[in-house]
C-alpha cells in the first residue's frame, strides 16, 4: 500500500525554485529519508506533504488525501514534528500530551506515550525546564499521541549531542515496530543510513538518487585502496579492487617491501552522497 505518492512536484518562492520536479513514493510501514544539504528543498517538500504549503505543480497524495485541503480526516492520521516549535512552556509534559490527546478521536494513552518517548521521569516537569533533547522528545510524544499512521520528522536530531542522537534513533526505530510510516528529513548521512529503509538524496530541488542505503553505496562499485610508500600516502580508486590489490601485493612481495598501513575501504553512504552532491554542484 502506498502512503505517500509524489509526481512532478514543483514549488517556487519568488525567483527561487525550491523544488524542481520530484517524484517518489513511500510505502506504508516504510521509513523514508529525504537527505540533502541545507536549502536542498527538504523542508519545502515535507511542508507541502503536511498541508502547510500549496504546490505550484505536480500530483501529491498522502494517505489518499490531497494535503493542501487539510481535511480533518487527514489531520487525524498524521503526526508532525516541526523543525522548530516550542510548546506552552508553563504546562507540564503530561498536560501538553493531554491537551493534544484531546484533539483526536482515538488518542493513545498519554502515560504510555510519555513512557515511549522516555519522558516518564519528567512527566510533571514544566516544559520550560526541559533540555533541548527532552523538548524534541516532547515534540515526538505529541506527534504520536493521536496514534497517527504517518509521522513526519523534520530534522529530528539537529543540534543533539551524540548520546541524545542515539536515543532519538532508537525511538524512531520503535516507530517502525509500531507499524508507522515515517518520512524523515536529515542532513546527517549516518542518520539516514541508520534509520531509513530508502533514501532520496536531494539537492537544488531535484532528487539525485533514490534507493536503499545499501543500493546507493553499491551504485558506485569503486573501492579505495590506501597505503604508505616512503612516508607518503598513496590512494587508488578502482572498480576492480581484487585485481589491483593482487598486483600491488605481488609487486611488494617480489620487492621484499611491506605495504605500510594498507587499507581497503568500501565507500560509505557519506562518500556516495558527497560525490553526488559535488557532481551536481559543478
Amino acid at each position: 500500500m502506498t502512503a505517500i505518492s509524489v509526481r512532478g512536484l514543483r514549488k517556487r518562492y519568488g525567483d527561487v525554485e525550491a523544488v524542481r520536479g520530484i517524484d517518489f513514493e513511500v510505502e506504508a510501514g516504510e521509513v523514508f529519508g529525504l537527505l540533502g544539504p541545507n536549502g536542498a528543498g527538504k523542508t519545502t517538500t515535507v511542508e507541502i506533504l503536511e498541508g502547510y504549503r500549496p504546490r505550484d505543480a505536480g500530483v501529491v497524495s498522502v494517505l489518499g488525501h490531497d494535503p493542501t485541503r487539510m481535511e480533518r480526516a487527514f489531520r487525524e492520521r498524521i503526526g508532525v514534528v516541526l523543525q522548530q516549535s516550542e510548546l506552552w512552556p508553563q504546562l507540564t509534559v503530561r498536560e501538553v500530551h493531554h491537551v493534544f490527546a484531546g484533539y483526536y478521536r482515538r488518542p493513545r494513552d498519554v502515560d504510555e506515550v510519555i513512557e515511549l518517548v522516555g519522558l516518564h521521569e519528567k512527566r510533571d516537569a514544566r516544559v520550560k525546564s526541559l533540555s533541548g533533547g527532552q523538548k524534541r522528545r516532547l515534540d515526538l510524544g505529541v506527534a504520536l499521541v493521536g496514534d497517527p499512521d504517518l509521522v513526519f520528522l523534520d530534522e529530528p536530531t539537529t543540534g543533539f549531542d551524540p548520546a541524545a542522537r542515539r536515543n532519538a534513533w532508537s525511538m524512531i526505530r520503535s516507530l517502525r515496530e509500531l507499524g508507522k510510516t515515517v518520512l524523515l528529513t536529515t542532513h546527517y548521512l549516518d542518520e539516514a543510513q541508520q534509520l531509513a529503509d530508502r533514501v532520496a538524496v536531494l539537492r537544488g530541488g531535484v532528487i539525485l538518487q533514490l534507493g536503499t542505503p545499501a543500493a546507493l553505496i553499491g551504485a558506485t562499485l569503486k573501492a579505495e585502496i590506501r597505503f604508505r610508500r616512503n612516508g607518503e600516502e598513496v590512494r587508488i580508486e578502482t572498480e576492480e579492487p581484487t585485481r589491483v590489490l593482487h598486483d600491488l601485493t605481488a609487486q611488494a612481495l617480489a620487492d621484499g617491501r611491506e605495504l605500510e598501513a594498507l587499507e581497503v575501504r568500501r565507500p560509505t553512504l557519506e562518500d556516495v552522497y558527497l560525490e553526488l552532491v559535488e557532481d551536481a554542484g559543478e
Binding site: E50, L87, W88, Q90, G102, V142, G146
Partner: protein, 248 residues
C-alpha cells in the same frame, strides 16, 4: 468533552499558569483602581469619584485584556510555532479562535467582578442597577477590543517587541479616553484624538449604563463606534494574520 470545552480549559490553564501575563492582565487594572480610588474620594462631575473611576477602569481592563493581552499572547504563540503546530491537528481553526475569545471573555468577566467587589468593599462604590445592559456591554467590549487585538497581532512582527508596541498604543489610548479620570479639562487637540478612539466610546457606554442607569440600546452611536473598530481589526486580521512564525 467537546473540543471547544477542551480548548477553553486549555486556554484557562495556560493563562493562569503564565504568571507574568496573568499579573499584567488580571491584577494590573484592579491595582490601578485601588491606587486611584485611594487618591480621589470626592465627586467627579456629580458622581462619586469611586463610581467614575470604576467605570473608567473597566474600560482600561477591557482594552488591557482583550486588545493588549490577546495580541501579545497570539504573537508569542505564532512566533513560538504553537499555532503552526496546532494547524496540523484535527482541532478546527475556528474552534481554536472561539475558545481563545471565550477564555478572554471569562478572564475579563472575573476581573469585572473583582473590580466591583473591591469598589463596593473599599470605596463604597454603587452596584449596577442595569445588570443585563452592563453584562452585554462587557461582551460587546471584549468582542470589539478582541477584534482590534487580532488585527494588532497580525501586524506585529516579533514576540520580543509585542509587549512594547501594544503598551505604546494602550496607555495613551486609556489616558485620552478617560480611563483614569475625565478628559473634559484636556486641551481640545487631545480631546479630539480621544473622540476617534474606541475606548472613549466603550467608557461612554459603561458610564451611561452604570452611572446613569440607562439601557444599552440607548447607546447606538457608541456601540457602532466600538463595533466598527472591532470590524476593522478583524478585517486586518483576515487579510494579514499568519499561523506561522514571521521571523526566520
Amino acid at each position: 468533552m467537546s473540543t471547544f470545552a477542551h480548548q477553553l480549559r486549555t486556554e484557562q490553564l495556560v493563562f493562569w499558569r503564565s504568571r507574568e501575563a496573568a499579573v499584567f492582565i488580571f491584577v494590573f487594572p484592579p491595582l490601578l483602581f485601588l491606587l486611584l480610588g485611594s487618591v480621589y474620594n470626592d465627586t467627579i462631575e456629580g458622581h462619586p469619584a469611586a463610581d467614575v473611576l470604576l467605570a473608567g477602569l473597566l474600560g482600561y481592563g477591557v482594552a488591557n485584556t482583550a486588545f493588549a493581552g490577546l495580541a501579545i499572547q497570539l504573537v508569542i504563540r505564532r512566533e513560538s510555532g504553537v499555532l503552526k503546530r496546532l494547524r496540523v491537528t484535527p482541532l478546527p481553526r475556528w474552534v481554536y479562535l472561539v475558545a481563545v475569545l471565550a477564555s478572554t471573555l471569562l478572564v475579563f468577566a472575573l476581573q469585572t467582578v473583582t473590580i466591583f467587589v473591591l469598589g463596593r468593599v473599599l470605596f463604597d462604590a454603587k452596584l449596577p442597577s442595569e445588570w443585563l445592559s452592563l453584562a452585554l456591554a462587557i461582551v460587546l467590549g471584549v468582542a470589539g477590543f478582541a477584534g482590534i487585538g487580532l488585527g494588532a497581532a497580525a501586524l506585529i512582527r516579533s514576540a520580543e517587541g509585542s509587549s512594547a508596541v501594544v503598551n505604546v498604543v494602550l496607555l495613551p489610548m486609556a489616558f485620552l479616553s478617560g480611563a483614569f479620570g475625565p478628559t473634559t479639562d484636556y486641551p481640545d487637540v487631545l480631546q479630539a484624538i480621544g473622540d476617534v478612539l474606541p475606548l472613549k466610546y466603550f467608557i461612554d457606554i459603561v458610564e451611561a449604563v452604570y452611572l446613569d442607569d440607562e439601557h444599552l440600546w440607548q447607546q447606538g452611536g457608541a456601540i457602532a463606534a466600538v463595533a466598527a473598530w472591532g470590524a476593522l481589526g478583524v478585517l486586518v486580521a483576515w487579510r494579514r494574520f499568519s499561523w506561522e512564525p514571521r521571523e526566520r
